[in-house]
C-alpha cells in the first residue's frame, strides 16, 4: 500500500487532491529513467549547459594547514547557476516537459533552487513561479532579482516564520489549486514519494563523478565524504554511490544555528523527533504536541525543520553520521576557505568545510576527505558582512 519507504521513513502523506498527480509523476519517471533518449538529452544538458562534470579540486593549502587528511573539494559551485541545484532541476523540468506540462512552480530557501528552476524554465520555455519566504527574500535579495531577470514570478510568503518550510507549504498549496498543466519542482530529497527518489537520482551524478575522479587521482576511494544537510539533496547526491562501500564514512553537517542547546537551531537529527510533515515520515524539529518548530540558521538553505527520509534511514541504520555545526563555525569556515583556497563557498557548504576543519587534523596523512562544495558564496557576501558588523551595498 504505502510506497517510497526508506526503512520506516518516507511515504506519501499528501492531500487526496494531489494523489493522482504524484502517481502520474511516478509512472512517468519510471518510464523515462530507462528511456535512452531522455538520458541522452539529460546528459547533454548536464555537460553542455550546466558544465558537468564538476571538478574535484585538491585543496593543497588547506591540507597543509590542517596537517592531517588530504582534502578534496567537489566543485558543485562551478555549475551553471552556482550550485548543485541545477542537477535536479534539469532532470525534473525535462521530465515535466515530456509529461506535457507547460508550467513549473518551486519553493526556495537561499534562492539557489529558485534560480536554478527559473533558469531551466527560461531554457525550456516554461512558465515559472517561485515561492520564497519573505524573510529569505530579504536575506537573499540578489537571488530574487536573478529570478525576476530570468522571467520568473517570485511570491514572497509571509505565513509562519516566512522561511523555507513556509515556502514549501505554499508551493504545495499552489500545486493543489493547479495540477493539470503544472509540475512542482521540489528542490530537495524530501516531500512525498516519488520526490525523494527522483531528486536523489538526479543528484547522484555527484557521487558517480567523485568515485570516478577519485579513482583517477588517487586510485582508491576516499575515507570520508561530507556535505551539508538541510533537506539533504547535495548530501544524498554525494553519498549515494558510496552507500555500498562500507569503508567510506559518510558525514552530514546540520545547521546548529546558535547551538543545539538553544531554540535557534535547525539541526534536525540532533534535536528533532520522528514525525509526519510535508508529505513524509521522517525526523522533524517540533514541540511535544507535534507543532513544527520555528527553526533558525544563518543559512537560508539549511533553515528547514526536517530532513529527507533517506537520510533519516541512513541515520537509523548507522550508515551515515550527522553532526551539528553552528553559525559561528560556518562563518569562520566561509572566511577560511576563501582565504586559503581562493574559493568562496556558499554558507550552506561552509557547514561541511567547518566540520572538515575539526576532524582533518586528527586524521592520518594517508587519509582522504572529500567535501562537497554544494554552491558558491557570492550570494552570501552581504549577509556575512552584516554578521561581521559591516554594512555593504549589493
Amino acid at each position: 500500500m504505502s510506497k517510497g519507504r526508506f526503512g520506516i521513513h518516507g511515504g506519501q502523506y499528501m492531500p487526496e487532491t494531489l494523489m493522482n498527480a504524484v502517481i502520474e509523476l511516478e509512472d512517468a519517471y519510471n518510464y523515462y529513467k530507462n528511456d535512452p533518449e531522455f538520458n541522452r538529452e539529460l546528459t547533454e544538458l548536464y555537460n553542455e549547459y550546466a558544465g558537468r562534470p564538476s571538478r574535484l579540486t585538491y585543496a593543497a593549502r588547506m591540507t597543509e594547514d590542517l596537517g592531517g587528511a588530504k582534502i578534496y573539494l567537489k566543485r558543485e559551485d562551478l555549475n551553471h547557476t552556482g550550485s548543485h541545484k541545477i542537477n535536479n532541476v534539469l532532470g525534473q523540468v525535462l521530465l515535466a516537459k515530456k509529461m506535457g506540462k507547460t508550467r513549473v512552480i518551486a519553493e526556495t530557501g537561499a534562492g539557489q533552487h529558485g534560480v536554478a528552476t527559473a533558469t531551466v524554465a527560461a531554457l525550456m520555455n516554461m512558465e515559472c513561479e517561485v515561492f520564497m519566504g519573505k524573510e529569505d527574500t530579504i536575506r537573499q535579495a540578489l537571488n530574487v532579482y536573478r529570478m525576476k531577470l530570468l522571467g520568473t514570478t517570485v511570491h514572497p510568503v509571509e505565513t509562519g516564520t516566512a522561511t523555507l518550510k513556509d515556502a514549501v507549504s505554499e508551493a504545495m498549496r499552489e500545486w493543489t489549486s493547479r495540477i493539470a498543466d503544472t509540475h512542482y519542482v521540489l528542490g530537495s530529497v524530501m516531500g512525498p514519494h516519488p520526490f525523494p527518489t527522483i531528486v536523489r537520482d538526479f543528484q547522484a551524478v555527484i557521487s558517480r563523478e567523485i568515485k570516478q575522479q577519485m579513482m583517477e587521482k588517487e586510485g582508491r576511494l576516499p575515507d570520508v565524504v561530507m556535505a551539508c544537510v538541510g533537506g539533504g539533496s547535495n548530501a544524498m547526491g554525494a553519498f549515494y554511490h558510496f552507500i555500498d562501500d562500507p569503508g567510506v564514512q559518510l558525514i552530514g553537517c546540520e545547521a546548529a544555528g546558535r547551538g543545539v542547546n538553544t531554540k535557534d537551531t535547525a539541526a534536525t537529527i540532533a534535536t528533532g523527533k520522528l514525525g509526519i510533515f510535508h508529505g513524509m515520515k521522517s525526523y522533524f524539529c517540533q514541540d511535544e504536541y507535534g507543532q513544527i518548530a520555528p527553526v533558525y540558521s544563518i543559512s537560508a538553505g539549511l533553515d528547514y525543520p526536517g530532513i529527507g527520509p533517506e537520510h533519516a534511514n541512513l541515520y537509523d541504520t548507522g550508515r551515515a553520521q550527522y553532526v551539528p555545526v553552528t553559525d559561528d563555525e560556518a562563518v569562520e569556515a566561509f572566511e577560511y576557505l576563501s582565504r586559503t583556497e581562493g574559493i568562496i563557498p556558499a554558507i550552506e557548504s561552509a557547514h561541511a568545510v567547518a566540520h572538515a576543519m575539526k576532524i582533518a587534523g586528527n586524521m592520518g596523512k594517508d587519509k582522504i576527505i572529500v567535501i562537497n562544495i554544494s554552491g558558491r558564496g557570492d550570494k552570501d557576501c552581504a549577509a556575512i558582512a552584516r554578521y561581521r558588523g559591516e554594512e555593504i551595498y549589493e
Binding site: P15, Q286, Y289
Partner: protein, 265 residues
C-alpha cells in the same frame, strides 16, 4: 450504529467547522452549543497545527491565533469532556497527521474516543497511508473519515469501499476558503461513491452562501462550511457566538429545504 450516521438521518446534514481555541476554548465550547441549537447536525472541531498545508489564509489565521495562546491537544481534550457533559451532538476532529502521530496515535485515538469524539479527519493522510491510523481508529470506535477530490477519478471506488463514517467530498481544487463558483460535478462523484457503497457524502471546501449550500445539498447528503464561519470568529472575536448561530441557522435552513430544482450542469 455510529453517531456520525445518525447525523445524516434527519434530512440533509449541515456540518460547521471551527478551530478550537479561536478566539478561546471558552468561546469554542459556547459555539458548539449555539451551533447545535441553530440546527447543526455534526460539528467538526479543528485542532490547530503550526503548518496547515490544506488550509487557505482564513483557517491558517485561526490556527495561528489559537496556537499563539498556547492551546494544546490536552486542553482540547479537556474542553471536549466539558462539552460532553452538556450535549451528545456528533463531533469529529479535523487536524493534521503530525498532531496525532506525535501524541502517540494509540494514545490520541483512545483519549479522543474516551472524551466522546466520534470521528477524525486527517487531510494529509490519503488512502495509501491510512494503515498508520485506521486500525487504531477501528479499535477504539472512532470513524476515520476519508476524503475524495475532483482529481480522484477511479480512486473514488477504492476509497469508498474501505471508508468509515461519511465521505468528505472536496468540492474544488486548491485549499480551503470561500469561492464564488464551484464547477466540479459533485453529483458524479457522489454517484460513484454510492455505486460502491451506501455511505453518506458531505461536500466541503469553498461553500459560504445559502444558495451554494442548497445546490450542494441537492446532490449530496450534507454540506460542510469552515472558512465562512471562521471569518465570523475572526471578525467578532469573543462576541462571535450570536453571529455564528444566526449564520448556521440560515445555512441549515438552506440545506434542509425540500423540492428545489435539480442542480443544472
Amino acid at each position: 450504529m455510529s453517531k456520525i450516521k445518525k447525523a445524516f438521518e434527519n434530512g440533509k446534514a449541515f456540518i460547521p467547522f471551527i478551530t478550537c481555541g479561536d478566539p478561546s476554548l471558552e468561546v469554542t465550547e459556547q459555539l458548539v452549543y449555539a451551533m447545535e441549537e441553530a440546527g447543526a447536525d455534526l460539528i467538526e472541531l479543528g485542532i490547530p497545527f503550526s503548518d496547515p498545508t490544506a488550509e487557505g489564509p482564513v483557517i491558517q489565521g485561526a490556527n495561528l491565533r489559537a496556537l499563539s495562546q498556547g492551546i494544546t491537544t490536552d486542553d482540547i481534550f479537556a474542553m471536549v469532556r466539558r462539552i460532553r457533559e452538556n450535549t451528545q451532538i456528533p463531533m469529529v476532529f479535523m487536524t493534521y497527521a503530525n498532531v496525532v502521530f506525535s501524541y502517540g496515535t494509540d494514545r490520541f485515538v483512545k483519549t479522543a474516543a474516551e472524551c466522546g469524539m466520534d470521528g477524525l479527519i486527517l487531510p494529509d493522510v490519503p488512502y495509501e497511508e491510512k494503515e498508520d491510523f485506521d486500525p487504531t481508529c477501528r479499535k477504539y470506535g472512532l470513524d476515520l473519515v476519508s476524503l475524495i477530490a475532483p482529481t480522484s477519478s477511479e480512486r473514488i471506488r477504492t476509497i469508498a469501499a474501505d471508508a468509515a463514517g461519511f465521505i468528505y467530498c472536496v468540492s474544488s481544487l486548491g485549499v480551503t476558503g470561500v469561492r464564488s463558483d464551484i464547477q466540479t460535478d459533485i453529483g458524479a462523484m457522489v454517484k460513484m461513491v454510492k455505486e460502491t457503497r451506501d455511505i453518506p457524502c458531505a461536500v466541503g471546501f469553498g461553500i459560504s452562501t445559502p444558495q451554494q449550500a442548497a445546490k450542494m445539498a441537492d446532490v449530496a447528503d450534507g454540506v460542510i462550511v469552515g472558512s465562512a464561519i471562521v471569518k465570523l470568529c475572526a471578525k467578532y472575536g469573543t462576541e462571535c457566538v450570536p453571529y455564528v448561530k444566526e449564520y448556521v441557522a440560515e445555512m441549515k435552513k438552506a440545506v434542509g429545504q425540500k423540492g428545489r430544482s435539480p442542480l443544472s450542469h
